[in-house]
Structure formats: C-alpha cells, structure tokens
Amino acid sequence: MPVVDLKGRRIGRVKDAAIVPLVHASRIDRLLVGGADTWLAIRFDQVHSISLSKGIELSDEVLVPYHDDEYMLRIGRDLLDQQIIDVTGRKVVRVNDITMGITHDGARDILTVLEVDIGVRSIFRRVLQGVIPATWIRRLQRRIPPNSISWEFANVVEPDPLRRLRLNISYTKLEEMHPADLADIVEELGPAEREAIFETIDSEAAADALSEVENPKMQASILESLEPEKAADIVEEMSPDEAADILSELEEETSEEILDEMDSAPKTEVRELLEFRDDTAGGMMNTEYVSLHDQATVSDAMSALKGNEDLLDGLNTLFLVDAEERLTAVIPLARLFVTSGNALLQDLASETLIQVSVDEKQDRVTEIFDKYNLLTLPVVDEDGKLAGVITADDIISVLRQK
C-alpha cells in the first residue's frame, strides 16, 4: 500500500506493520515504510487516513528511520507464517493471514488486528495475490468458508524470555485450560517454545500439564531445560509417584539438582519412591492416601477427610492400620454415608483384604486389578506396613504404554 505525505508526494510502500503490546494489545502502532534505502517508522498518530484505494495519507512531516526494536511485534516477520496457540480451539495453528479493521477516532484512521486466519481461504489469497486480479481472488474466496480465530484468543509463542517480557506476552490464558489440552499443545511445539511456556505459567498448572504429557522422554527433557528451582517448584506440585517417575527418567546429576531445591517433606516422599524399580508395585504406587487406626469410628474418618481436602478428588478408599502401621482393613468410602457416626470403621471393611508387596511385578498388579475389579490397591512393605496405593488410573497408563 503506497504512503503519501502532507503535500501528496509518494514516499514509499508499507513493508510491514508492528504492534507494541506494552502500549496497546491490538492497535497497529507503527507502519514500516520502505523508501529508497532505509525503512521509515510511522507512528499511528502520524497517520491521517487509510483507504484501500488511495493508500495511507500522513498528517505529520517528521518521520524517523526504523530500527529493529524489541518492543515491536512485527506482523510480517513475527506473526505471519509462524505458529501461535489458539486458546479457544486449544491447539497450535499456523498463521496464514491477518485480518485488520480500520476505525476512525475523529482525528485519524486507526488499524487494529482483529483476527488471525488459519484456513485454506487465506492460503489461497496469499498464494494468488499479484498473480491474478484482486477482484477475482475476492470472488473465488467467497466460496471457501473462513477459518479464523479472534486476536484476543491468539497466543504468540516467544522463546526468548527478555523479548517475551518486552512484548508483554503472557501465558495466563493457558493456565485455565484443561491440563490434558495444554499438554497436547506443548507436545506440538518445538523444544524452545515448550520451555518458554513451562517457564512462564504457574507451577501448579505446569505440574498438571507435565503429568499429562504422554512421552516420558519429553517430560524429562522439559524438566531438564528449566532452571532447577523452577523445576523443583513444578515437581513439588506433582503427586509423588508421578514426580518420581519423571525424575527417574532424568540423568542422576540433574534429578539430584532438582531434588536439592525441593522442600523437605515432598522430597523425602519422592526419594523413597525413587528407590523402587519402575516395573514393580513400589514404582507404580503413590503415597497420597488416608489411613486411620483400627479402632477409629465413622466420625473420626469424616474429620480425617476434612483434614485432607486436597486428596478428595480421587479418593475412594480408606485404610485401617494397627499400632505398628500394618494394614488391617480396607474401607470403601461410600459405605461411610450409610452408617451412623459412632459405628466402628472395621465393621464396614471389605471382606477380603487384597494387598500386594512393594516388589510385586507390574504385570501381576494389573492382573490383580482385573481379577478383583479394583479401583484402589494397597501396597505394603516387607513388614506389612502400608507403603502406598496403586489406583486404576495408574493401571490405565501402564496398559496404554504397552
């Protein structure tokens, strides 16, 4: 598009346009105009009018040469043809075209980025532009349904942390996504972009997403790429068994570095779990369970549950242990609701106590789950002490990996 100055002289064509996200999220703040040898940068308030037929008319004489500046997000260079995250569609897409709108605010015309086009329609336009007349393209284009996402739901991926800050790119929108969706997105991206996302989002969301990443090798390489402190924060938020699984994929040096940065309580749990081999009950189990002494009543159980609210989502079984912490009974959680508060828990226990020892083989564990239709299986150490539990979702992951 040609650019014309105050006196109607043509000074060049628009080569690119840039947003300065720190100032305004969607307004085109600079137009970069290529004249003879250098490019000029035109600020948005130096523009008088913009029209498709007449081009851009300026309202100011004083133009500065363009110099590459880290606060600018350039449409042509940084956005077009690059990958972005579609937050609503929950996937990684490639930018085929950009739709902008012109608004008039009294003194000047302003361009804003409205939509990012990702469909066949925009490929069509960009490939044919300049080859056949624009009117033909428009006529043909009408037959293809548009496929675009609104600019506010498009998330640019920028690996360089400094530039990310200057461009005001945040990934807070990603934190609200379902962890499994976020994991899918992360799997689609390159290693540098992956690291950028995990560095930026909060540790809890990062932990959830990391557990959902399917390939253990990729999980490991993500943790490795992060600073040990950040990695430790994420690992602390994970359930101890998943944390141990991922750490066991890392080289010993790196996993030690991360463990050193962790708080002591989760650290000891994870360390204990790391001792077990992957393909044994000990390696599969987690230590998130609720156990009570064998004389406890239903109301004791209720108050124990209140103290463990973060475990409630996945909980379906309570365990009873004797004075030596040996497992004595398993109580299906639902039975609590049909009993009065002062009843003894042991009276509600399942008839047979099914348990495995920490070194039981993985295949045998899945067999037991299948045979007894279990949701939860307690794991005991060599003294019969309760060491952890294996849940059905652990079994599903194991079976899926085969």
Binding site: R94, V127, K217
Partner: protein, 415 residues
C-alpha cells in the same frame, strides 16, 4: 572398566532409543527405482561402477545429517522451517511440485510391486489393490511406534540382496579392487550411468521425511550424538546393499554377457541360472523395497504438505482430527496404485517426469537446508561449522549439477 562398560551400555540403549528415522530413510533410498539403477549398472558395466558407492555414501551422510540435526534441535519439520523463514508462496510452490514428483514416484513403487509379484505369477490386478490396501491400513490404523516397528522390520528384509549376492558367486577380488579404484571412461552410456547412480541418491522427499520422523519420534538435541551415529550407520547399510545388488548383477549378467536391462525384474530373471534361491531372494527383495517405499512416500508427502501449509498432521492423530493429512495420503495411494491397473498407461514417461520434477525441486531444498542450518536463532550452538559449511556447499553444488545433468539427459531422451 566397569564404568566404561556401563557407559557403553548407556550409549547403546540411547542408540536403540533413537533408532528409526535415519535408518529407515537411508534404506528406503534403495526403492524400486534405486534397485533398477544399480542392477542396470551391474548388468552393463560389471564391477566398474562400485567405486561410486563411496562418494554416494558420503553425500548421503552429509545431507541426512543436516536434516536430522535440524529436526532434533528445532523440533520442527523441514517444511515448517521453510514456511517460517521463506514464506507461504515459496512453500506452496515447493509443496505443489513435491506432491506431483512423489505421486509419480508412488506409481513407480506400485509398478515395482506389480512386476516383482508377476515373477511369482501373481496378476497385478490382484497384487496391486491388495498391496495398496495393506499400505493404507498400516498407517491409518497404526501409531508412530507401531508403524516404525513395521518399517524397521522391512529394513531387515534387505538382507535378501546380500544373500543373493553371495549365491551368484561373483569375482570378489575384482569387486574389492573396483570398490576403491575410480574408473572414468568417456563413453556416453557409462557417464549417463554414473550420473544416474549419484543423481538418484538424494531425493527431496527423503529430507522432508527424515526431519519429520526425527521430530515425531521426539529426539532431542541431547540425544543427537546417537542420532547422528544412526544416520551414518543407515547410510553405510544402504551402500552395502547397493554393493551387493551391483555385485549380484555383475556376477550373474555381466559375467555371462554384458547387456542393458529394461527393469529390475529382468535382473531377477538374469539370476535364475545361478539357482532358484538367488532368483527368489532378489525378487522378494524387490517386492519388499517397492512396498516399503510405497508406504513411506505417501506418508512423507502428506506430512510435508500439512506441516508446511499449517494443517494438522501425524499418524498419532485420528482421521477426524487431521482430515487433509489422511485425505492426501489416501489420494496418493489410490492414484499411485490405480494407474498401474490402467492398460497402456504411459508409466515410463511418468517415471521420467518424476525424475525431472525431483531434479527441479532438489536445488531449492538443498539450498534452503544449508541456509536454515546456518540460522543462529534457529539452531543456536548447533549451526554448521565453517568446515562443515564448505563441505555442505560443495556437496550441494555437485548434487545440483549432477541432478540437472540427469534432468537434461532425461528430457532429451523423452523426445
């Protein structure tokens, strides 16, 4: 000592963990067209062309290594990178030519399936549709891991060429000498053969496939050392197989009476006097190579196009998630296999056309590769060193020269 042993074991484990992309790509280079080129060379010139295998191996290693490195470091496919750095229009044109070139290649592979099974008296009207369906199902119903396992298994079958090479009892001394002693003759047929052998070594689709496979396998920059070993081993394996194909044809056909052969199945028939087994193994090898390449070519094409143009792609995706990917894959197989069943279809012209298209595409692909691998913001510390750049550019220029020469000869031959 124990530490050394455990280190070795660690490397071996990682090697097997990264085994796949480089190996498969290099081995598929010996597709039905490759086998024909080598057979024809051996049948006509005996052991003389063997020396070209050494430069071929080097060229293969240099180009493959760059792609697997780019895949491991950036986590993006080659067409992804071309799109990001060179824009949509160039990508679109490149992909258009790639689809055409690969479509004609797929035809050649199904022709290989047909002619190899006709040696066993199976009609092409049975073999080709069945093969096409099998190929389609393997990828559509599988995931990356299972597909890769099948492909690696197919690689093992190339050993048939090694055995048939032994069975014809060639002149090993002659073969050994000619492997290291370059012979140049100013005979048009010989020069044409040399250009053909080297010129068909690198096809554009291989670069796209290799890089995409490295990405999909999730190989990281950290494992890249092992990945490079894998690429090198794969390339050497490929040349070893080519060696045995040439030697088999030299021992069986050239030693009796040097002549030109018209296709690879004729080479198999030439082995018949040396025992039923030599013949059977050679034909079975041809079938394996053809069907293997018929699997990979459509897959690689669908990958490259969808990546480059921004559509969802990957064998781990379901059909509904990646309709264009699976659509293109299906189309390539259907057309590639379909035309083989049309009587009087100008197949030879199609194969020549595919050579021309590949030749047009290759310079762009290779030049883009070297430009991309030198971009610091993409590759970081993994850019080419100055020496590597020199080697890469020389390779690229030589390959472009040879390919264009091949195109020139082909175009002249078409009239």
């Amino acid at each position: 000592m124990r530490k050394l042993l455990s280190r070795f074991r660690y490397h071996l484990v990682v090697f097997f963990a990264v085994l796949g992309p480089g190996f498969i790509t290099a081995v598929v280079d010996n597709d039905s067209g490759g086998i024909f080129t080598y057979s024809a060379a051996g049948a006509r010139f005996g052991y003389l062309p063997l020396w070209t295998l050494l430069p071929i191996t080097i060229v293969l290693i240099i180009t493959q290594e760059m792609c697997s490195r780019m895949g491991a470091v950036t986590g993006k496919g080659l067409s992804d990178l071309i799109r990001e750095e060179f824009g949509l229009r160039i990508t679109f044109l490149l992909m258009g030519v790639l689809v055409l070139a690969n479509m004609t290649n797929v035809m050649a592979e199904f022709a290989g399936v047909a002619s190899s099974l006709e040696l066993f008296h199976i009609s092409r009207y049975i073999s080709v549709p069945l093969a096409a369906m099998a190929v389609w199902f393997v990828v559509v119903k599988g995931n990356y891991q299972s597909v890769e396992k099948i492909f690696l298994f197919a690689c093992v079958f190339y050993v048939t060429y090694v055995i048939s090479g032994f069975l014809v009892k060639p002149d090993w001394k002659e073969a050994a000498i000619n492997s290291v002693k370059p012979v140049l003759m100013l005979e048009p047929g010989y020069i044409y053969m040399l250009i053909g052998m080297v010129g068909t070594t690198i096809a554009p689709w291989m670069q796209f496939y290799l890089q995409a496979a490295v990405v999909e396998k999730g190989i990281t920059a950290k494992e890249y050392k092992q990945s490079r070993v894998e690429v090198v081993v794969g390339c050497i394996m490929t040349s070893v197989i080519a060696f045995f194909i040439i030697v088999a044809c030299a021992g069986a056909i050239y030693a009796v009476r040097p002549r030109d052969i018209q296709d690879a199945s004729e080479a198999a028939l030439g082995l018949k006097p040396f025992g039923e087994y030599a013949f059977l193994l050679f034909s079975a090898g041809l079938f394996n190579a053809s069907i293997f390449a018929a699997c990979i070519l459509p897959l690689s094409t669908a990958y490259s196009v969808c990546e480059g143009l921004g559509f969802e792609a990957g064998v781990n995706k379901r059909m509904k998630e990646a309709p264009i990917f699976y659509g293109l894959y299906t189309l390539l197989i259907a057309v590639g296999a379909g035309v083989i069943l049309i009587p009087k279809f100008p197949l030879v012209q199609m194969i020549l056309l595919s050579q021309v298209l590949n030749g047009i595409l290759l310079p762009f692909v290779l030049i883009f590769m070297v430009l991309l691998i030198n971009k610091h913001d993409l590759m970081g510390e993994w850019t080419n060193s100055r020496a590597a750049n020199l080697v890469s550019w020389v390779t690229v220029v030589v390959m472009i020269g040879l390919t264009l020469a091949l195109v020139g000869i082909t175009v002249r031959g078409m009239h």
